[in-house]
């Protein structure tokens, strides 16, 4: 089921992400004020097997600026497995989720030879809705 060429492309993309994350971390190091905007976001996964979840968690952690802090197991019914990710340099929660789901889509396309279902709209809107609630 694994597509070796796409997986190689995924690893190259991860390398590009590591380099760009390192650059953004270095530039923000020499910014006088407002070093980082830490947040812990909740990422319900579309990954199902242990291998996919492990690879996704490792990819997140190896990228500078994002770190997996907790994993919630999914039950078989409707709760998907969920990662809690500590993000340092994202502009907003929706922005951070966009980046993470982009990575997940690339990984799952390489692992399954076909793209996964798009992210449930309710999750992205939930992130935006609570932010509006907090500012109100």
């Amino acid at each position: 089921m694994i597509d070796p060429l796409r997986l190689l492309g995924y690893f190259l993309w991860i390398f590009k992400e590591i380099v760009s994350g390192t650059l953004s971390m270095t530039t923000s190091l020499f910014t006088p004020h407002g070093y980082s905007r830490p947040m812990i976001v909740q990422v319900p996964l579309r990954c199902t097997t242990d291998l996919e979840i492990t690879m996704f968690a490792s990819s997140i952690t190896i990228t500078p600026g994002t770190l997996v802090v907790a994993i919630a197991a999914g039950d078989e019914a409707d709760d998907p497995p969920t990662l809690f990710v500590h993000v340092l340099f994202a502009d907003s929660e929706a922005d951070a989720l966009d980046g993470l789901y982009d990575m997940e889509t690339r990984l799952l396309t390489a692992m399954r030879r076909r793209p996964p279902k798009p992210v449930a709209d309710a999750i992205l809107r939930g992130a935006q809705g609570t932010q509006e609630g907090e500012t109100a």
Binding site: P38, T61, P64, L67, A70, A122, G129, T130, G133
Partner: protein
């Protein structure tokens, strides 16, 4: 010869500079999770670059051998895999032990879980604020 020397120097010095960058970034980070987070340029890019420079140096001085190439590849993969798993373990234990999370960590979904919104409704802010007053080990802030 000269170009190879320059290449080795660039790889090793860039790797070493990334280590310094991560060390300085750890001073500016404000809580334990951020310090683990800013360490990944050193482990994900810095150490593999130093290894690459060292391998090219060995290649230049001792010639090619399959054995050394194998060692270099194993070392490279180990750096990538071990450092990411070690960071996961560190962050997991940091949260479990109840180390304080900085108060500007916002949103903190460990304290206020994300509620998926059904239909055209917007999020329910009152539900969020009620859960935000929970008192758990991961919920203290500095």
């Amino acid at each position: 010869m000269l170009i190879v020397d320059v290449l080795i120097a660039v790889f090793v010095l860039t790797g070493a500079l990334l280590m310094v960058t991560s060390a300085l970034a750890m001073f500016r980070a404000k809580d334990a999770l951020s310090r683990i987070n800013v360490f990944s340029p050193a482990t994900g890019l810095g150490m593999p670059l130093v290894l690459l420079g060292c391998y090219i140096y060995t290649l230049q001085h001792e010639g090619f051998s399959v054995y050394r190439l194998l060692i270099a590849i194993v070392g490279f993969l180990s750096f990538i895999i071990v450092s990411s798993i070690a960071s996961n373990t560190l962050s997991r234990s940091t949260v479990l032990v109840g180390s304080p999370v900085h108060r500007y960590t916002r949103p903190n979904r460990l304290v206020e879980p994300l509620v998926p919104v059904d239909g055209g409704e917007t999020g329910d802010p009152t539900a969020e604020t009620e859960t935000a007053h929970g008192d758990g080990p991961a919920q203290r802030s500095v």
